[in-house]
């Protein structure tokens, strides 16, 4: 299945794609069909979150774009250049922070980051490397061997390596997997700074709150199929359900039969009623519910509403696709 990223999508200014994936397919030698006819466009300067459960195809997709895995069928363009034909151009534009902490344990932080810059065809620029290390709070560790660093620091080194050649498109594959809250917040701040500097960010994650916090748009991939691409806000509005919670004046033992049609949930020892409704529906049913509650003699002292999280939306989508 493929999803046109523009279909049903609110305009975000002139279309300026930086990554265009067309009909991408990948089957590994083992026979595992990892990607099925993927179509995707990512816009310049946006933060795009690719969500999906483990084994959905997120890392395969990124690995093909970056040149680590051979593509099957289809084509990929980065900034208008084909990733196979013009691989030198596309790869010099891209930075990648892989999921695994794979570093040269015996090298110093400075040397390994400088090595990465050279590898991507850039002349030495100590001032830039210094700035990257300072931005990532690695400057004090620049002469330390990587094997002496903590896991969080190693993760920062991976990011520093990816930024060493000043990429215009940055892939972050599960950037905050296994990192503590502080580092996670630091990374989110860094990603926002990069985006402000014009870098397009594509991150894969299965932490929904990460996508909810950071992304402009969200893609959901499951079993190798891109099942949805949408603006995060539009997605939450379109697919989101809300919950109305009523704090009752008197606890109830059971719900009256007259309210059965509302599918209410009685909780908190009978003192709380929860009603779930669709914000996109023509009628939410709130008015009639409140009226029927009044007629049933059920009074409430407070009420609140809550928007469903992206996580719930994601779970629903993946469940439907299963």
């Amino acid at each position: 299945m493929s999803v046109d990223r523009e279909a049903g999508h609110a305009p975000m200014g002139p279309a300026d794609p930086v990554l265009v994936v067309r009909a991408l397919d990948k089957t590994y030698a083992s026979g595992f069909h990892a990607l099925k006819n993927i179509d995707l466009t990512v816009r310049r300067g946006e933060i795009f979150a690719l969500l999906g459960p483990n084994g959905a195809g997120k890392t395969t997709l990124i690995s093909i774009i970056c040149g680590i895995v051979n593509p099957g069928g289809g084509s990929i363009e980065v900034d208008g250049h084909d990733v196979v034909r013009d691989f030198r151009t596309t790869r010099s534009i891209i930075g990648l922070v892989p999921q695994e902490l794979t570093t040269d344990a015996f090298e110093t932080v400075w040397n390994t980051v400088s090595f990465s810059r050279g590898l991507f065809g850039k002349p030495a620029n100590p001032a830039h490397i210094e700035q990257v290390l300072k931005d990532l709070s690695l400057w004090d560790k620049r002469n330390n061997r990587i094997l002496t660093l903590s896991g969080g620091m190693k993760r920062r080194v991976m990011i520093a390596k990816a930024l060493s050649h000043e990429p215009r498109v940055l892939f972050l594959d599960e950037p905050t997997a296994g990192v503590d809250v502080e580092l996670r917040r630091d990374m989110w701040a860094m990603v926002r700074r990069l985006r402000a500097g014009g870098v397009t960010i594509i991150l894969t994650t299965h932490y929904i709150d990460e996508a909810e916090e950071m992304a402009d748009r969200v893609g959901v991939i499951n079993k190798g199929e891109l099942i949805l691409v949408e603006d995060k806000a539009v997605l939450m509005h379109k697919l989101g359900k809300k919950q109305l919670t009523l704090q009752l004046q008197q606890p109830l033992d059971a719900l009256p039969g007259a309210l059965a049609a509302y599918a209410l949930e009685l909780g908190a020892n009978g003192t709380e009623l929860t009603y779930t409704y669709d914000t996109q529906a023509q009628r939410t049913g709130i008015t009639s519910l409140l009226r029927d509650l009044g007629q049933a003699g059920i009074g409430f002292r407070d009420l609140s509403t809550r928007q469903n999280s992206l996580e719930q939306i994601f779970v629903d989508l993946v469940r439907k696709g299963a």
């Binding site: 680590i68 051979n70 790869r91 570093t103 015996f106 090595f115 810059r117 050279g118 991507f120 850039k122």
Partner: protein
């Protein structure tokens, strides 16, 4: 041509040599010195000369070749295997690099290290015996050609290997025996006629013979054949490397 990348890989690989100086340089020098002590002094004192050359001097090209082959293979195979093993190979794959540049970086560094070791052994030999080099430019040419060829071979082994044991199999079980039986410590003319013919199936004979010719003007086989055999093996290694990168064999899924 991404020369910055070639230089980055080359310097990165050479840096490991300096980090592991004892293992990279001191160890082959020590083992070669032991060969001189055992074969050159202890046994060589009972062999006055081989084809007019003192036995101690006669074995120098063979000893250098022994180290050159094993060092070239182990340097290059480890150089490419280690990033595969720890996972840092992703960076090489995702960089704007052609396979020629990757090979230039890794094989160039491996060959440089083994040439360095070869030259150190040559200098060490001076401490034990007197020798002269009749064709110094040919000596350097054979040294470089053999180092590059066997570094390419090591590079292939490093890509093929999926564990550390496999890295050692070819150098230990194939290269070292062939070198010992390829005339490192004797002239093949000293063998019975049947074994002389059998020995000609050993490719290392041609390497040692050509190299020894550059030292003393003496060869077990024609120097032209030696050169052709070395170039032939180089071409075969280049063809295999080209195929590996074209197909992504053992490198890319």
């Amino acid at each position: 041509m991404n020369l910055y990348a070639v230089r980055a890989i080359y310097r990165f690989e050479m840096a490991r040599t300096w980090r592991t100086l004892m293992q990279s340089v001191a160890s082959p020098v020590l083992s070669t010195s032991l060969y001189f002590v055992v074969f050159g002094s202890a046994i060589g004192s009972r062999i006055t000369s081989v084809e007019g050359i003192s036995y101690g001097a006669f074995i120098i090209p063979g000893l250098i070749m022994l180290s050159l082959l094993t060092q070239s293979i182990s340097n290059a195979s480890f150089g490419i295997y280690f990033p595969k093993f720890v996972g840092t190979i992703y960076e090489v794959h995702s960089a704007p690099l052609s396979y020629i540049e990757i090979v230039m970086g890794y094989v160039g560094a491996a060959a440089s290290k083994s040439v360095l070791v070869g030259l150190i052994i040559l200098a060490t030999a001076r401490l034990f015996v007197d020798y002269h080099i009749v064709h110094p430019l040919w000596m350097l040419a054979f040294l470089l050609l053999t180092a590059v060829t066997f570094s390419l071979f090591g590079f292939i082994i490093g890509i093929w290997a999926d564990n550390f044991e496999k890295l050692q199999v070819i150098p230990l079980l194939v290269i070292t025996p062939l070198t010992f039986l390829g005339g490192s410590f004797y002239s093949i003319h000293m063998l019975p006629p049947l074994w002389q013919k059998v020995t000609l199936f050993n490719p290392v004979v041609y390497l040692i013979s050509g190299f020894r010719w550059s030292f003393y003007g003496l060869a077990d086989v024609s120097v032209g054949i030696s050169l052709a055999a070395t170039l032939g093996f180089l071409a075969a290694c280049l063809a295999v490397v080209w195929w590996i990168f074209r197909t992504g064999w053992r490198l890319k899924a």
